[in-house]
Amino acid sequence: MSGDAAFVTSRLDEAIGWARKYSIFQYPFVTACCGMEYMATACSHYDIDRFGAGLPRFSPRQADVLFVVGTISQKMAPVLKRIYDQMAEPKWVVSFGVCTCTGGFYDNYATLMGIDTIIPVDVYIPGCPPRPEYVLDGLLKLQAKIQAQHESGRRSAREPRPELELEPWMPQR
């Protein structure tokens, strides 16, 4: 590929990434108490629309990002897997709340130990439940990830690792 063509392709990737990250149509898969915090985030006070993610779609066929909000039980797991399979590429998954990340404190017979045992996850937002600011932070990280991706939806080799912002009380690197 000549230099000009590579330049055009990389510009195209950037343009498509920019368009995608500001038009996130989410599918909220809400099963538990995290749903309250999701609703708080989605309402006008936190104005999720300024990130282009203001319109939830209640059909997986029309959605780009699967928000898994709340505890997933073993019985619900096949349903979640089917919803994920029904979404069209490119698609992303946000794990909202500690139950979806790891199972949380439900270390028992009924609960799935994290949704990443059945579907791939792009952004983990732990918390019980996470504050809306935390959710918005996760959304921004997802936008950074989408921006860095190849046009086909493949992960780019130059995908930047999200910067961890160290608080003063944390061990400094």
Binding site: K75, K81, R82, D107, N108, Y109, A110, I118
Partner: protein, 200 residues
């Protein structure tokens, strides 16, 4: 009828079946053998002296690790004393589990017209955890008995549809038995696997 009168009336009428009784904190409780459960339940429901037309609850208890060490659950590491303090003696102490059997199935009956209630306990051995269904008397026992089967693996003879109610059919074991490993992982079921067709 108050608790003492209930216990006395039932002990006289079912002398061969009643293995024990107490009225701990005012709750009339009788322990009966499973062979006479249906007779006794029918009498409780239909006899004019009892009129227990409401089955409030039906559940089971696994006593296999009861009293054999500190609670392995939440309070064990916190230092919270679960059992009552010895400094506060109870004038009428809890009588304890009804015998050496592993399981008991517990019925709570209530009489809406007469406003009295009764607890019936049926001890069951592990090797033969089976007793008669009371669905012929109280239709509401249907789901309760399915729950007891699902969680404890106790079978009910004469139940028309005894299958799991909370867990799925591929689930292995009965999770509220005390020997069910707390960290046990079940095989995941696929969307198009046997789980989606709700067959037995």
């Amino acid at each position: 009828m108050d608790a003492a009168a209930l216990i006395q009336a039932l002990t006289e009428r079912f002398a061969d079946a009643v293995r024990g009784s107490h009225a701990y904190r005012g709750d009339a409780t009788i322990v009966i053998s499973r062979e006479r459960l249906l007779d006794l339940a029918g009498t409780l429901k239909d006899d004019a002296a009892f009129q227990m037309n409401f089955l409030m609850d039906l559940t089971a208890v696994d006593f296999s690790v009861f009293g054999k060490g500190p609670s392995p659950a939440f309070f064990a590491s916190s230092g919270v004393v679960v059992r009552p303090s010895a400094e506060l003696p109870d004038e009428h102490p809890w009588p304890g589990p009804p015998g050496p059997a592993r399981f008991i199935v517990v019925y709570h009956f209530f009489s809406l017209p007469l406003k009295h209630r009764l607890r019936v306990e049926v001890p069951l051995e592990e090797a033969d955890a089976e007793l008669d269904s009371v669905t012929s008397l109280w239709a509401g026992a249907d789901w309760l008995e399915r729950e007891v089967w699902d969680m404890f693996g106790i079978r009910f003879r004469g139940h028309a549809n005894l299958k799991r109610i909370l867990m799925y059919e591929q689930f292995v074991g009965h999770p509220l038995r005390k020997d069910y490993p707390v960290n046990k992982r079940q095989p995941l079921i696929e969307p198009d696997g046997d789980a989606s067709s709700h067959s037995r």
